[in-house]
């Protein structure tokens, strides 16, 4: 634990600028939306960054500048604007890849993480279907061909985006879905890893940080086990890339998916990174223009990655915006961002633990956990919690957070979830805690 903050410290306006030079007020000034008020003049206390983050003005400016200056269809046409747009798009790819220690050619842009994970899943469905009729497949595609008896392993703490696509793959190929469970304290249960991930396992798909529990999963033993049995290791890094330094090589993953809009970037862009030989072996997913090599009436051949997976006119402005977000985070320093959020997470957990009638769903300490904290209040349904919090200007998410089985695992139908980002401070946490008290008073449970 990095914090021993007292909960009775009174109304702190913001975290003090730390020794690392982090200045919360300056950061906040970069986010125009934080200046607005909600519900009749109340300060916006935005604690829903796990759903989507707010965007600094640099990101908005970058998108606007692209449209004002260089707008053209990327990878099409020979005029100057097309050249500039293409360069801006590919420059963005280099920047974003660099942010996670990747080579630009191994980074595919998608609409969001959901599409990125579907791209991964459809590699299996499509390879299996093509193999069944003896169609051409890229070299090395055998590992994507599934048959009854094969197994796909996920976890009980997956977002639906990393669960439903794999269920679909199983339905279409006859493979069997298995999963790793969760311990009572919200950790991935690795006690049966060796049994559940075995020689029949073709995919191990795991969330890096749970969007409901906040748990950060240990990728190392998972990667090792996947490698031992020759399974493809897929990581959903939606909730980690925005908050902690992630280096793709360190993860041991074959494929990693995340969304731009949760990391200060625009909506409409997601990323799928893959090891070069894995991407090269994957058949295309969405097909059409821009992803082909040669097209004849009878059949076509396909471009190399990443173009093979980027059919149609891509989201160039969003790529440029996401590159600006990455530059913004790099300027702050991901270590600094992570330290700030960690300190604040500790403060939030401490204050929440002091409340009676409030239970945290997920790990109760900052050890291997991020700043996404789900909670339930005795006697008050999460929707009603969200409603009173909203009345106080406190924006949290309520419901099952697209992780329905995770809720069931903990016997709750819905939780309220506060999730932190770089622009949050202790004043936000204090506002949340006060609003929880108001909720309990409103519903007469305190």
């Amino acid at each position: 634990m990095s914090t021993s903050a007292s909960a009775t410290g009174g109304p702190t306006v913001s975290s003090p600028a730390s020794s690392t030079g982090f200045d919360l007020d300056r950061v906040r000034a970069d986010f125009p939306i934080l200046r607005r008020t909600v519900r009749g003049g109340k300060r916006l206390v935005y604690l829903d960054s796990a759903a989507t983050s707010q965007k600094p003005v640099e990101v908005l400016d970058a998108e606007r500048a692209f449209y004002e200056v260089s707008n053209a269809a990327v990878h099409r046409g020979a005029h100057q604007l097309a050249e500039e747009a293409t360069e801006a798009y590919e420059q963005a790819r280099r920047r974003i890849a660099g942010f996670v220690g990747a080579a630009a050619g191994d980074l595919i842009f998608t609409k969001n993480a959901t599409e990125a994970l579907n791209l991964a899943a459809y590699s299996f469905t499509n390879a299996t279907a093509k193999s069944a009729v003896g169609a051409d497949l890229p070299d090395g595609a055998e590992r994507f061909v599934l048959k009854p008896g094969d197994e796909i392993v996920v976890t009980e703490m997956e977002h639906h985006a990393n669960l439903v696509p794999w269920q679909e793959v199983c339905v279409k190929t006859g493979a069997r879905l298995r999963w790793l469970g969760i311990t009572d304290d919200g950790r991935l249960d690795l006690s049966r890893l060796g049994e559940i991930v075995n020689e029949r396992t073709k995919v191990l798909a795991v969330v890096h940080q749970s969007n409901l529990l906040g748990t950060i999963n240990p990728l190392k033993p998972l990667a090792e086990r996947a490698r031992e049995v020759g399974a493809l290791f897929v990581v959903d890094a939606c909730q980690s890339v925005p908050h902690v330094p992630v280096d793709v090589a360190d993860t041991g993953a074959d494929l990693i998916a995340w969304s731009g809009h949760k990391m200060l970037g625009p909506m409409g862009i997601g990323c799928l990174w893959g090891r070069a030989e894995v991407l090269a072996a994957m058949p295309p997913f969405i097909t059409g223009g821009s992803m082909i090599k040669v097209v004849r009436m009878e059949s076509s051949t396909y471009a190399d990655p990443p173009q093979r997976f980027e059919a149609g006119v891509p989201m160039a402005a969003q790529a440029v915006g996401l590159a600006a977000a990455v530059e913004y985070l790099e300027r702050l320093g991901m270590d600094v961002v992570a330290a700030h959020e960690r300190e604040l997470t500790g403060y939030l957990l401490n204050r929440m633990r002091e409340l009676s009638g409030v239970a945290i769903i997920g790990p109760e300490t900052t050890v291997d956990r991020g700043g996404t904290v789900s909670f339930v209040i005795d006697g008050v349904h999460a929707h009603d919690v969200g409603q009173v919090l909203d009345d106080r200007g406190v924006a949290v998410r309520v419901g099952h957070h697209c992780a329905w089985p995770t809720c069931e695992r903990f016997g709750v139908r819905a939780t309220a979830r506060a999730s932190l980002a770089v622009y949050n401070g202790r004043d936000d946490v204090d506002a949340l805690i006060d609003a929880i008290g108001d909720t309990q008073r409103f519903f007469g449970t305190r």
């Binding site: 009603d384 409603q387 139908r413 108001d438």
Partner: protein, 170 residues
């Protein structure tokens, strides 16, 4: 109401959490599945996971000569709004002619649209349902309020046929 709230609360919020609603939430009516029944439906609100299982049987009064009357039982889980809506619905439709029950449901749906358009609600038909007027101001909660009513409509359609239920909408 809600006098315990110390700080300024948006009147809209107070308007949504009418005492009637909170009362029904704390002391729901009609809970518990009963036999016999003609059909059972299960509806969920996939956004939040609120659920209702509803059983409907239609009884004909007067030895088959009168109108078909609603006989309802349900089990529900969810937020105050969906729970109270189910409880109020039970109070309003249990033992009344099906056509009348469906008419109340129509009025309720109309009421839930009142934030986005001019609506024409008949308060007399709506009865206690009028307490939910404030819910319409919160689009995310409208689905909660409608959950039991949608379940009832679905169940009725299964028993008497969708034409009859649709036909009731004019």
């Amino acid at each position: 109401m809600n006098a315990t709230l110390g700080r300024e609360t948006d009147p809209q919020l107070e308007a949504m959490y009418q005492e009637v609603i909170l009362d029904h939430y704390r002391h729901p009516h009609g809970r518990g599945l009963r036999e016999p029944f003609d059909t059972e439906v299960h509806h969920v609100n996939p956004v939040c996971g609120d659920e209702i299982t509803l059983r409907l049987s239609l009884r004909t009064a007067d030895e088959g000569a009168g109108e078909q009357e609603v006989n309802l039982s349900f089990e529900a889980q969810g937020c105050s709004i969906s729970q109270a809506a189910a409880s109020v619905m039970f109070e309003q439709v249990e033992g009344v002619p099906l056509t009348r029950a469906l008419a109340v449901g129509e009025q309720f749906r109309e009421l839930m649209d009142s934030a986005t358009r001019e609506v024409n609600v008949d308060e007399e038909t709506l009865g206690d349902g009028i307490a939910f007027a404030g819910v319409a101001r919160y689009p995310a909660r409208v689905k909660c309020a409608l959950l039991p009513w949608m379940a009832l409509r679905d169940a009725a359609a299964r028993v008497v046929g969708p034409e009859v239920v649709e036909g009731d909408r004019e």
